[in-house]
């Protein structure tokens, strides 16, 4: 699955406003809803929070990857958000998260869903790439970091 096939400027927010994990997830879901990618917002929200309850998707160095399998989507969908100050996301390193990559994949559909999540996370492996994302002021600049 190529990142460029899934991400467009419409699916990027460079200025998330939420101040809690729930608010950030809700805000990012609205991006997907607005793009017509999610059929049932409430169901997707519940599935994402249920996944967070099992184990937080807050990783290290400010990156979080909220994701879930849900009946609310028909195909793999993704969006990216940046929070300027960073918020507590129960991350592995205890640091606030400021780069969020959300993916929703359909239930019972074969496809490279985890591979996509890994592929997009790999881009942010280097400190330089993360800094570039955080310095971006437009969706186009964020996409450029991902080679789009």
């Amino acid at each position: 699955m190529k990142i460029k096939n899934l991400l467009t400027e419409q699916l990027i927010s460079v200025d998330l406003q939420g101040s809690s994990k729930e608010e950030i997830i809700g805000e990012m879901l609205n991006i997907l809803l607005k793009a017509g990618k999610v059929a049932d917002r409430d169901l997707a929200y519940a599935d994402l929070l249920s996944r967070e309850k099992k184990m937080s998707t807050g990783m290290q160095y400010g990156v979080a990857i909220p994701h879930a399998k849900t009946l609310a989507v028909a195909e793999l969908t993704a969006c990216i958000g940046i929070h300027r100050k960073g918020i507590d996301f129960d991350s592995l390193d205890g640091q606030p998260a400021n780069i969020f990559i959300m993916t929703l994949s359909p239930v019972d559909r074969t496809g490279p869903h985890v591979q996509f999540l890994a592929e997009i996370s790999m881009v942010l492996k280097s400190r330089a790439a993360r800094l570039k994302v955080l310095e971006s002021v437009s969706a186009a600049e964020v996409l450029a970091v991902f080679g789009i």
Binding site: R51, T110, G111, H113, V114
Partner: protein
Amino acid sequence: MAHEMMVLVLQLGIIVLFSRFFGWFFANVLKQSQVLGELISGMVIGPYLLGGIHLSVIHGPLFPLTGGTIPISPELYGFAVLGSIVLLFVSGLETDLPTFIKFSGKGTIVGLGGIVITFLLGNGIAVLLNPGIPNMLHPSALFLGTLSTATSVGITARILSDKRKLSSPEGVTILAAAVIDDVLSIVLLSIVIGMSAAASGGVGIVWGKIGIVALKAIGFWLICTIVGIILAPVFTRKMKVFESIDMIAGVSLGIALILAGVSEMFELAMIIGAYIAGLSFSRTDVAHEIHERTQGLYNFLVPIFFSAMGMMVNFGAIKEVFWFGLAFTLLGILGKIFGCGLPALFAGFNLRGAYRIGVGMMPRGEVTLIVAGIGLSSGAIGQDMFGVAIMTMLVASIAAPPLIIKSFEGGSGYRSKALDTGDARSHAIELQFPNFRAAEFMRRSLADGFREEGFFVHRLDHDRLVYQVRQNMIVFTLLQEQDKLILNTPPEHESFVRLMMMEKLLELKDFLSGLESMKSPDMMGAELMKGMFSLDAD
């Protein structure tokens, strides 16, 4: 037509029954190769023994002798040919391509050594023991030399596959050498035909024409192998739009048949085209799935092929030239053991490995028959020498299986300890579980997860819980050692593997909390047992 079809169906039924029972008896009771049982079943029920007996219900023998060089009906022979194509296609699929490429150089040295020595020995003894053959350039001497060169890759491939040694250094060297042998034997045959025609016609040998035939054969082999290896992964990737592995398996078998036919058009044996097709698909991620779906066809057709080979044995023709045949056969066998074994010693193998390769190259088969048949039809050899060819095929094919099986006992036959076909860069990620069951749950769960991502998962070893997880060129290995899981991954895919493992660990957590909320297992067990016995008399 209806009568012929009725006879054909009866013939097939009898062959399937006898080859199965003989194969089983040889493998399980006599502890010999199944192939040997199948070959002998053909001799017993074939036209020269029981099959030749007149049966009043069908107004003739069940396996009547036909006039041509092949003593069975063309329809039945067609099934045998199909069996040889499926056999070589599956052998190609089972070949580990990187190891095959790595050993193709050694295979060429071994194959060439065997060809040169056996040709010279076969040709020489023909001149020495037959007053009718004046010199080594006589057509009969040339044909006898040629027919002792070709190795039957089929018999060896089947035994090595049964013993799971097909991808060992000796296994791939034998396969590479046998395929090269077959290609070179056919090239040699074209040269010999050209020389015989020139000798009988009283004109000079047209080396230019012979050279073109030789180039065509070698060119076809090289081009098809290279193109096949490049195109097969692209082809299977495109075929996945049909979302049906059965479809991919069916189409790849169709391609094997077409390539076998085209191979014959280029004056090479059909089995070469089938082997190239199998070899090409062996490096795709669906190789195991194609193999699995071809297995039923293989189990049905391959015994028919070996049984039909046994049917070719004319005991009467062998009797007349028995002593010459015996000497010719023994030299043919020794020629292969030394001709292939000695070069193997210089190609990195120890004595044990060289011996394995020598005996692995011993069996003769379909190409020997093809060469003998062409020699017979062109008049270069008579019925007696055709009998010698069959005797060589028979003795070599009967002697080889037990020798091959025995030779593969013991340690490695390859000198270099550094042989490693795996990815040296791969990272191992280990997870330790409290017990075997928990590790097993996680292993199954991971395998399902990879399948959901579009990967193919198959077990590599029947004795150990080791699996290959593959999608196109991405390959991981998943290994369970008691309560430990080890996943080997190339570094560029490590994030994916870690994420997948994390997701599956969460599923395990879910599963465990589900178990905790379950009704007490003791109470469930008690409820299950209630009502098993009653107070009533009946």
